[in-house]
C-alpha cells in the first residue's frame, strides 16, 4: 500500500480535494454527511499511517485505546468523587507515552518504538480533556465523538490544537449556507496562501538559501555575518514552513465545516515578547497558558504558597517555558530556548510594570512602536537560532 504524508505532495492534495467534493456539496445543501466524513477520515489516516509506516499506525491504535480507557475511567470516577491525587495520577498516565517517546532518544540514541507522527498533539488534546473533566465542564463524552476529535485527520500530525468542547460544538452542528459559503471562501484563500508559504517561501528560505548560509558559517566558524544570515533565514523558513502547514490544516477543516483555530497571526509585527506569544503558534501557547500557567498560578495563589504577585508570575513563566523546552526534546538547545523565553518574558513584564508607573515620562509614538517591533523581532530571531540547534553544530562540530 502507498504511504502519503500529510500536505507533502500534489497527489495528496489531489486525492484530498476529490474526496472532499461530495462533502462540500452536502454541506452546501445544509447537511452533514457524517458516515462519508468518517470513511474519508479513515482512508486518509490509512494513507498516512499505513504502508511503510504501518508500525506507527499500530502504535497510534494502541495509544488511542489507552487514552480512551483512561479518559472514560476518569470521567466515571469524577462523577462520584473528585480527589486531587486521582487527577494527578490520571494526568501522569496520560502523558506517560509522550514522556517515554521524548526521553528514549536521549538515553538510547534511537527513536522509541512506541512513537508515531502527532503523538504530542494527541497528548495535548487528551490532557486538556482530563483537566476539563476535573473542572466539571466536560460531563458527558461519547466514544464516537472522542474518536472524531482525537483522530480528526486534517490536524492530526502537527495541530493546530483544538479543544473538545469547541470541536464537538462544530461537529454537532451544520453551518448555515451563508456561513459555510464564507468558510469556503476562507478555505480557498488559506489553501493558496499555504501553497505560497510552504512551497514557494519556505522552499526558498529552507531549501535554497539555508544550506548556503550553513556552509558559509561552518567554514568561517564562530560569529560571522554568515551566522547572522543563517539566523534570519532559519527564522523565515521556520515561520513559512509551519504557518504554511497550519494554513493547510485550517483550510481543510473549513472545507469540512469545522472551524479549527488559527495558529499564527502575523508574529513578526509583535510589539513585545508577550504579544509575540499571542501571535506565534497560538494554539500551543494558549494551551500552555490555560492548562499550565493559569492553573499553577491559581493553585499557588489560593494556597498562598508565594505572597509576591511578581514572583508568582515569574515562577509560572519558568515552569511553562521549561516544560515547553522539554517538550521540544531533550537537548541543551531546546531547554536553553525555553529558559531564554522565560527570561525574555519576565524582563518584558518588569518593563511593562515600569512603563505603567511612569506613563507620563516615557514617550510613546510611531517611532517607539517601530523600535519595539524591531527589538522584539531580533530577540525572537536570536531565540530561533538557539532553537535551530545550529549552534550545537557550530560549537561541538
Amino acid at each position: 500500500m502507498i504511504n502519503l504524508q500529510p500536505y507533502q505532495n500534489p497527489l495528496y492534495f489531489g486525492l484530498l480535494i476529490l474526496a472532499l467534493i461530495p462533502e462540500i456539496i452536502c454541506l452546501l445543501m445544509g447537511k452533514r454527511f457524517r458516515w462519508y466524513e468518517t470513511i474519508v477520515s479513515l482512508i486518509f489516516l490509512m494513507l498516512t499511517f499505513g504502508g511503510t509506516k504501518i508500525h506507527e499506525g499500530l502504535m497510534l491504535i494502541c495509544y488511542i485505546v489507552f487514552e480512551s480507557i483512561l479518559t472514560f475511567a476518569y470521567l466515571k470516577y469524577r462523577k462520584k468523587d473528585n480527589r486531587g491525587s486521582v487527577f494527578v495520577i490520571a494526568i501522569i498516565l496520560s502523558i506517560l507515552p509522550l514522556v517515554i517517546v521524548k526521553i528514549t532518544p536521549a538515553i538510547s540514541g534511537s527513536q522509541s518504538i512506541i512513537g508515531f507522527l502527532g503523538i504530542s498533539y494527541l497528548t495535548f488534546k487528551t490532557v486538556g480533556m482530563l483537566m476539563e473533566i476535573r473542572d466539571g465542564i466536560i460531563k458527558e463524552i461519547s466514544l464516537f465523538k472522542l474518536l472524531q476529535f482525537l483522530l480528526f485527520f486534517p490536524t492530526i500530525s502537527s495541530g493546530p490544537i483544538d479543544r473538545y468542547r469547541r470541536f464537538i460544538g462544530d461537529y454537532d452542528n451544520t453551518p448555515s449556507k451563508e456561513k459555510y459559503l464564507k468558510m469556503l471562501e476562507k478555505a480557498v484563500h488559506y489553501l493558496f496562501l499555504g501553497f505560497l508559504y510552504k512551497f514557494v517561501l519556505a522552499y526558498f528560505f529552507g531549501t535554497v538559501l539555508l544550506p548556503i548560509m550553513s556552509k558559509g558559517s561552518l567554514a568561517n566558524g564562530g560569529i560571522s555575518w554568515w551566522l547572522v544570515g543563517y539566523t534570519y533565514t532559519y527564522s523565515m523558513d521556520l515561520f513559512f514552513d509551519f504557518a504554511g502547514y497550519s494554513l493547510f490544516a485550517v483550510s481543510i477543516s473549513y472545507f469540512m465545516g469545522i472551524e479549527t483555530p488559527m495558529n499564527f497571526n502575523r508574529p513578526f509585527i509583535s510589539k513585545n515578547i508577550k504579544d509575540f506569544w499571542n501571535r506565534w503558534h497560538m494554539t500551543l501557547s494558549f494551551w500552555f497558558r490555560d492548562y499550565i500557567y493559569m492553573r499553577l498560578v491559581f493553585f499557588m495563589m489560593k494556597r498562598k504558597v508565594v505572597k509576591s504577585r511578581v514572583l508568582l508570575g515569574n515562577i509560572g513563566y519558568f515552569t511553562l517555558f521549561i516544560i515547553m523546552g522539554f517538550w521540544h526534546g531533550l537537548t541543551w538547545y531546546y531547554i536553553v530556548y525555553g529558559l531564554f523565553h522565560a527570561c525574555a518574558i519576565i524582563i518584558n513584564d518588569a518593563w511593562l510594570r515600569f512603563k505603567k508607573k511612569h506613563q507620563d515620562k516615557i514617550p510613546s509614538n510611531k517611532f517607539t512602536e517601530l523600535l519595539a517591533m524591531f527589538t522584539t523581532f531580533n530577540v525572537v530571531c536570536f531565540s530561533f537560532l538557539i532553537f535551530s540547534g545550529f549552534l550545537d553544530k557550530l560549537i561541538f562540530g
Partner: protein
C-alpha cells in the same frame, strides 16, 4: 453586584477607566493579563462566592467590564 465587580476590576487593573467605559477591551489595552485573570477568578470566589473554573474562562467572553458583570450576574 455590579459595583463589587467594578471595585475588583479597579483594584486589579489599577485604573478607574474601567468604571467609565464598560465596553473597554481589558486584554487588548493591557489592563488584564493571565495573572490578573487568575486573581479575578479568585476574588470572585472569595468575595462573591462565585465559582468559575479556569476551563470556563474563555477570553473573548470576558474581555470587557460589561461582559464580566453579565457573566457574574448570570452565575
Amino acid at each position: 453586584m455590579k459595583e463589587q465587580v467594578l471595585d475588583i476590576l479597579v483594584d486589579l487593573t489599577g485604573s478607574e477607566e474601567v468604571r467609565d467605559n464598560l465596553n473597554l477591551n481589558l486584554f487588548d489595552n493591557g489592563l488584564l493579563d493571565s495573572m490578573a485573570t487568575v486573581q479575578l477568578l479568585l476574588e470572585l470566589q472569595t468575595q462573591l462566592g462565585i465559582d468559575v473554573p479556569i476551563s470556563e474562562f474563555e477570553r473573548s467572553e470576558w474581555d470587557t467590564p460589561n461582559k464580566i458583570i453579565a457573566k457574574v450576574e448570570n452565575n
